[in-house]
Amino acid sequence: MATRKLLYHFTRPPYGNVFQTEGWRAAVGATAGIDEHEVTLLLQGDGVYYALKNADRAENLGYEKTLQRSDTKYYVVKEDLAARDVSEDEIADDMTVIERADTWSLYEEADFNLDW
């Protein structure tokens, strides 16, 4: 298999379930295999709460350090932040805010997308 572009999108709230952590773990797995797939993470819906700068990300810290080595980008959808009354000032520095219309290009470029 060749290297693929993978889009991991997170739509569920980040705490009280296994989806966020399992998704990040799976993302690391994709980047760490023989093929070293290119991974992009997209937070939308209630998944945007993970992007809060004061959110406790300790559980995923090891995964995040690994993903940083492969320049994985994290995007968060602007409209979903606004719908939850979250301002961009409250977002962690490693997150890139993106309009929903611009997420379409992420889906187009991705060979596969996975929902978490």
Binding site: R100, A101, T103, W104, Y107, N113, D115
Partner: protein, 85 residues
């Protein structure tokens, strides 16, 4: 261009994304069959098992084409898949 698999929890987000696709194929699956097809545009399918068990056959008649899992596999194989299920 793509086939979208829509379940209920993320259905509204997915519905917004389908509007960016000039030729979307939308499959309502699991609780996604509760979504209102009139709010969606594109070719709309609904999983027949999910529709029947929820008693929604009459409600979706004429609005969504009923398909089985074999037909779903064909759609998945033939198209790019964007999964919200």
């Amino acid at each position: 261009m793509a086939v979208f698999l829509l379940d209920k929890p993320s259905g509204e987000i997915a519905a917004e994304l389908t509007k960016l696709d000039p030729d979307p194929k939308i499959v309502l699956i699991k609780d996604g069959v509760y979504l209102d097809p009139d709010t969606l545009s594109g070719k709309i399918y609904a999983m027949e098992d999910d529709v029947e068990v929820r008693g929604l056959k009459d409600r979706l008649a004429g609005k969504a084409e009923s398909i089985n899992y074999s037909q779903l596999v064909d759609l998945i194989v033939e198209n790019k898949v964007i999964n919200f299920s």
